[in-house]
Amino acid sequence: MTRPLVLTLGEPAGIGPELTLKAWLGREASGLPPFAVAAGREQLEKVARKLGLAVPFSKVEPEDAQAAFATSLPVLAGSPEIDVEPGKPSPATASVTIGSIDRAVELVRQGRASAVVTNPIAKSVLYQAGFRHPGHTEYLAALSARFWGGAEPRAVMMLWSETLAVVPVTIHVPLRSVPELLTTELIVDTARITDRDMRERFGLAKPRLALSGLNPHAGEGGALGTEDDAVVRPAVEILQAEGVDAVGPLPADTMFHARARANYDVALCMYHDQALIPIKALAFDEGVNVTLGLPFIRTSPDHGTAFDIAGQGVARPDSLIAALKLAGRLTETTES
């Protein structure tokens, strides 16, 4: 028996339910590993009806998901039912959205599911209901501590595609704060987690890390900023001394074309858009968000809830499909 992936509900008024249905319908064409949705069936059924999608459901325990997956979309028994209009989110559903995440992580902890794939959530909706975590990833780190014990792990966000993988060292912070937040320690810490998970989860014997410079032309010897020599370069030297295959700081504008990409497996970028601009340009629909540093595998599509198009049937499931496939692949590598 293969344990299924478990897919969370996400924001039920967003495009998550629609993408879930479309991903299942494309299971054979995309070669998807079996997954079960940690959600009730009624909301999914309502969206399927609205969009005219013929999706049969089965209410299962995780152990039965694989057998059911070929002919029906497995939803986990015991999940609470909700009813919400696409595009019209309600804080009343927040506890169910959060409960779905909790259940997914718990099932992985219990060994009943192999990995967590999350649908997008809307933080603003959850905040109205009293959710206090900065974001999805931070919440998963908190759940890791809850279910595995010990200190909360440092979660590292990686955006992965077949053409490029990037890790932003600083993420959702104002650009003006980046230089002060960027420390040698933070870079080294991020790179160590990346290196370890690239080995253990992605199966690379010796992952090649390329670190970008913070400043234009990686500072051009100090003429365009001191941080590249004072902060980034020492991090690269520490990593190299530990045996990590790391190079940098590289000028960010010349490290992403095909010839340059052939020299590394993952690029560590110093701030959000330095990482997001190239991956969106190279893999707009196929980018997957992978969380490194957690005691379990977690992937998600790299887009949001898209309330503006929810329920219209136009949302593309490419990124969710890529996330499900990658979770399956990482599971195989990790468990082999």
Binding site: H172, P174, P179, L224, F256, L276, A281, F284
Partner: protein, 343 residues
């Protein structure tokens, strides 16, 4: 009105760049392209020996008449000539190295080309790549091309560098400054100035109504103020002000998707806030085709976006694509300028 009457033939002042890299081969290859020769009359400044060496390496024959400066001064517009300044012998070139001699050659050629255009005898300037270190050896005040041009022309008005990839333009508010200085440099005035310059330069290049997308500064364009307030406090008001002055612009947009929208044809240009925000996207979309335009001067100045490529110099394998795009843009803008002057 026939096409020939409607489209006057422009003259391009062409400066040979750094002699130690691919510039001589590029110059020879360009001058051998009929498409380039048909687009404009070209007045090249350099040393004939360096051009001939470039032609030998590239395996081309850039048939062009050689004159000296006195002959140039005495001759009318209307033909392509090579003005031999006799300013560098082949044996004085140190291949693949930035040298004082190389910098003196490039700055000398560039100065003459700028002066020809400033005198009204050329409509646009083009140069093959410079090496910044060599330029500094020859001209210690050399910060960048803009500073040098201002010095030669004796002016100090606003000017800016634009990157051009086919029909897509990238203008920037800040460029070669440390990232830590970017946020403070993003002011309403700076954005307005950049939008005004971009609008002007694009109209000069033939856009009737250039549509400019303005990038945000912060992740997700600040996410309604959650990741920074510059979008709300600075960029939005600047865009509104520019729009009220008749510039077709929108934004701020998240910078990780704004180029995709522009590339899809929704906009003609993206105004970026800092160097890598524009350069990462532009280089990914066309590493070998990018053109740099220096705008805001009395005449357009174009060059390929890439550098001197010391690593592949002398092999004859340098890609001509970006240089070709750059000189054709110079020709197009020069023609527009002549048409405006005639109107």
């Amino acid at each position: 009105m026939s096409a020939t009457l409607a489209t006057p033939r422009p003259t391009i002042a062409f400066a040979m760049g750094d002699p130690a890299g691919i510039s001589p081969e590029l110059a020879a290859k360009l001058l051998a392209l009929s498409e380039v020769r048909e687009s404009a009359d070209i007045v090249v400044f350099g040393d004939r020996r360096i051009l001939d060496e470039g032609a030998r390496v590239a395996g081309v024959d850039p048939a062009i008449e050689t004159v000296d400066e006195a002959q140039l001064a005495a001759s009318p517009r209307g033909r392509s000539v090579f003005v031999d300044l006799e300013n560098l012998a082949v044996e004085d070139v140190t291949p693949k190295e930035a040298t004082l001699a190389g910098g003196q050659f490039a700055t000398g050629n560039f100065r003459k080309a700028l002066q020809l255009a400033a005198a009204g005898r050329a409509d646009a300037v083009f140069f093959t790549p410079f090496n910044k270190k060599a330029m500094r050896l020859a001209y210690p005040n050399y910060d960048d091309e803009i500073r040098f041009i201002n010095d030669v022309l004796g002016r100090s008005g606003p000017a800016s560098e634009f990157n051009v990839l086919g029909q897509l333009w990238n203008a920037r508010v800040t460029s070669h400054i440390p990232l830590s200085g970017v946020a403070a440099a993003i002011t309403r005035e700076a954005i307005l100035r950049s939008l005004t310059l971009a609008d002007r330069a694009m109209r000069d290049a033939g856009f009737q109504r250039p549509r400019i997308a303005v990038a945000g500064l912060n992740p997700h364009a600040g996410d309604d103020g959650n990741f920074g307030r510059e979008e709300i406090d600075v960029i939005e008001p600047a865009v509104a002000e520019a729009a009220s002055r008749g510039i077709v612009c929108e934004g701020p947009f998240p910078s990780d998707t704004v180029f995709l929208r522009a590339k899809a044809g929704v906009f003609d240009a993206v105004l970026t806030m800092y160097h890598d925000q524009g350069q990462i996207a532009m280089k990914l979309m066309g590493f070998d085709r990018g053109v740099t335009l220096l705008g805001g001067f009395p005449f357009p100045i174009c060059t390929p976006a890439h550098g001197t490529a010391y690593d592949i110099a002398g092999q004859g394998i340098a890609n001509i694509g970006a240089s070709r795009e750059a000189i054709l843009l110079a020709a197009r803008m020069g023609r527009e300028a002549r048409m405006r002057a005639a109107a």
